[in-house]
Symmetry: C2
C-alpha cells in the first residue's frame, strides 16, 4: 500500500508533510526520532512534525518506542495480530533492538516472551515491551571484516 492510499484509509487529508513523513518511514529500515525526521525532510516545521507524529500515533500508522535513554523513536506498525495472554499464556509481541555500534533501533518481529505462571496468577498483564541492546548483525559482520 502506498503513501496516499494509507493516508486516505486512515481518514487523513493528503498534505505535503504527512506524505513526506509517511514516505520517510516506509523507506527506512530503522526507527526514526523526531530529529531524524527533521533532518530527512528539511524545511519542515518542528511543531508540524510533532503534530504529524501524534496524529499518526492516534491513527495507529506508527508506534512509539522509548529508548533505554528515554528518547522517543517511531516506526511503522506492521499490524500483526496481538495474541491475548489469557488464551496463550504467552505474549506474541514485537521487540526492538538498539545496536550499540551503529546506534540504530530496529523492530524484531516474532519475538515470544514466556511469562512465568506464578506471575500470571497474581497480575493481569496486558502489554509487554522488550528492548534489547547489543550489536546488530550488520555491525558484527563489519567488525569481523576489520
Amino acid at each position: 500500500m502506498n503513501v496516499e492510499e494509507t493516508l486516505k484509509k486512515a481518514g487523513l487529508r493528503l498534505t505535503n508533510t504527512r506524505k513526506a513523513v509517511l514516505a520517510a518511514f516506509m523507506e527506512s529500515q530503522k526507527a526514526l526520532s523526531h530529529n531524524d525526521l527533521e533532518q530527512k525532510l528539511n524545511n519542515c516545521d518542528k511543531v508540524t512534525l510533532y503534530r504529524t507524529l501524534s496524529t499518526f500515533l492516534e491513527k495507529d500508522l506508527i508506534h512509539k518506542i522509548i529508548n533505554p535513554d528515554g528518547a522517543a523513536l517511531f516506526a511503522l506498525c506492521k499490524h500483526e495480530p496481538m495474541h491475548s495472554l489469557k488464551e496463550h499464556y504467552q505474549l506474541h509481541n514485537h521487540a526492538h533492538l538498539t545496536c550499540k555500534v551503529c546506534k540504530e533501533t530496529r523492530c524484531i518481529n516474532d519475538f515470544e516472551v514466556e511469562i512465568p505462571k506464578y506471575l500470571l496468577m497474581n497480575m493481569q498483564i496486558e502489554e509487554v515491551s522488550i528492548l534489547l541492546q547489543g550489536t546488530c548483525s550488520n555491525c558484527i559482520k563489519t567488525e569481523n571484516r576489520v
Copy 2:
C-alpha cells in the same frame, strides 16, 4: 544494611539530602520519579536531587527505569548476579510492571526471557529491558471487592 553504611560503602559523604533520598528508596515498594522524591522530601532543591540521583546511578545504588511514556523512574538495585547470555542462551534479568490502575511501577525479580536461537545467531544481545503493563495484584483484589 542501613542508609549510612550504604553511603559510606559507596564512598559518598553523608549529607542530609543523600540520607533522605536513600531512606525514601529503602522505604518505598515502588519505583520513584524525580517528582515523587521532590514531594516526599519537601524543601529539597530540584538540582540537588538531579545530582543525587545521578551520583547514586554512578555508584550503582539505584537503577533507572524508563516508563512506556518516557518518564524516568528510579529504584534500589538488588544486585542480583546477571547471567551471561552466551552461557545460558537465556537472560535472567529483572522486569518492571507498571500498573494501569494505581500507576505504580515495581520491580519483578526473576523474570526469565528466552531469546529465540535464530536471533542469537545473528546478533549479540547484551542487555534486555522488559516492561510489563497491566493490573497489579493489589488492584485486582481491590476491584473484585468493589
